[in-house]
């Protein structure tokens, strides 16, 4: 089985000419299928940029990026959109659509897969919400949910289409320590059950024990792995 993520000699810069600023230097990183990897490092070390490159949200400038068997460094915009449909994203802020119920927000993710018919789509969204413990909140709008509940909806949204890779950016940042840990525990457990790999950027030391591997980054370089 190929690795979920395989990055080699990745370099990335922002800006042009004199304003050009390199943020990633020869980054190499592999994430095995089914493993949870936490990426740590001070602000501005380039970890979020790495995450957006792996997630197909930016175009690769130089180096190799293989995600779920797709060669992202050679992919055009349309292919990037297609690859993204197989990745689950969890953001620092939940970014749920405020005019959709919890269930509809989760359904939005499944709707990207035309082979899922509307009836199945609804059923799977409901099941997923039950799994994250929101079986009694399915028809609530985000405004009526607590921060932890919203983040659980966004985890349900990221996982419902059974992606092979989940990218999470500081998923606990907006939560208190208890619900933060609960949310990441849930994410880790479900990812393991589905056999999905997780690459998570975090500052949160309390959740490091949930990772299979921890990767430290500094000044655009991978420092060490533990």
């Amino acid at each position: 089985m190929p690795d979920a993520i395989d990055v080699h000699d990745l370099n990335y810069s922002f800006g042009e000419g004199d304003l050009r600023k390199q943020v990633l230097y020869d980054v190499s990183l592999t994430v095995q299928t089914g493993s949870v990897v936490i990426l740590m490092g001070p602000s501005g070390c380039g970890k979020t940029t790495l995450l957006t490159l792996v997630g197909g949200l930016r175009t690769v400038q130089s180096g190799q990026v293989d995600v779920l068997g797709h060669d992202l460094d050679a992919a055009g915009p349309t292919e990037l959109v297609a690859v993204r449909r197989h990745i689950g994203f969890v953001f620092q802020l939940h970014n749920l659509l405020d005019f959709l119920t919890a269930q509809q927000n989760v359904e939005m993710s499944l709707q990207l897969h035309p082979e899922v018919d509307p009836v199945t789509r609804r059923r799977r969204a409901q099941e997923m919400l039950k799994v994250v413990g929101l079986g009694d909140r399915m028809n609530y709008y985000p405004a009526a949910l607590s921060g932890g509940q919203r983040q659980r909806v966004s985890i349900a949204r990221a996982l419902v289409a059974q992606p092979q890779l989940i990218l999470a950016d500081e998923p606990t940042a907006a939560l208190d320590s208890t619900s933060g840990r609960q949310v990441v525990e849930l994410l880790q457990r479900l990812a393991k059950e589905q056999g999905a790999a997780v690459l998570m950027v975090t500052h949160d030391n309390r959740i490091l024990d949930l990772a299979d591997r921890i990767v430290q980054m500094e000044d655009g370089r991978i420092q060490k792995e533990t």
Binding site: T48, L57, R85, N95, L97, F99, M108, L112
Partner: protein, 385 residues
Amino acid sequence: MFFRDIPLAWLQLTHSKAKFFAAVTGVVVAVLLMWMQLGFLDALYRSATSVTNHLTGDLVLISPHTKEFARPESFPRRLLGRALGHPDVVAVHPFYEATGKWQNPWTGEKRPILVFGMPPDEPLFDAQGLAEGWSKTNVADAGLFDVVCRPSLGNVAKHFHAGETVTAEINNRRVTIVGTVRIGVGFQADGNFVTTDANFLRLFPDRQASAIDVGVIELRPGADRLAVQMALRQAYGRELKVQTPEELIAAELKFLQDNAPIGFVFTMGVIVGCFIGFAIVYQVLFTDISSHLPQYATLKAMGYSDGYLVKTVLQAALILAFCGYIPGTILAAGLYEIGKRATMLPMDLSLHRGAQVFGLSLAMCFLSGLVAVRRLRSADPAEIF
């Protein structure tokens, strides 16, 4: 696809009822404005031809100096004889027409009224009520009153149909209403009075029987109208114009368009309506996009294409167009009824104008959607991490 998928546009628009109501109200106002402006414009054009629309005959002779049917230039009656020389012409009828002063019998107010004089054996109008009342006009100072008149003339119809004898003065001469017809008024007068040529000449003492205003030609059944028209044009040269009733109506409209700025005025009104609707819809869509940029960016990150988001915004625009059109049209129907009573202008909700207003509202909303869509470019999925 629309029912299969989650109706994002609809859910977004209707999530806040108050906001949705405000947006729809904006479109309703725009739709209403369009209906009213187009309705008045159309009614004015139609009313301008209400008299010519009711004229019978296959061909019409008028003076080349006549620009408007309601303000004709007279010509010598003897010229009619020339048309009779054509083998296909069965008869040529003289038609008198002039604007008189009607004195409202109840208020004493004097208002312009168009008076038509026609041969007693041949009423040259095809109008409702004429067949019943015409024979009664063959007494001195009797005539038929057009009930589609402005209220300024007095409620003749009500009193007449209540069985009262209604008399009034035209050019200071007492006339008796012996029946009613339905013709319609234009700009030049507030009402119409239809009578015999003899009565006409009594009301306008300075007019001569030998000077008529219109000649109405009747052709043998099966005659080639255009061929006769060509022949008569040759025969009359520059002395008289030979027109079909359709040409007469078209010329009437053209005169109005060229000489009255109403087309411009009302078209401006329609444009203002469109602009109001455009601005409101744009404002609503723009605000909605702006306040949802991170969420839209998230949808893009998840794998939704730009096309999906563009489609959603345009759908929202079209939903607004549709939701505004229906109540706007219902309101317009009510206002048309009020307008019709106040002005006696022919205002009707026609399918044609309905389609026109619908098309304009769609275009207006679609355009605001297209402009608002540009805001989507700021939704960059790489920026939300």
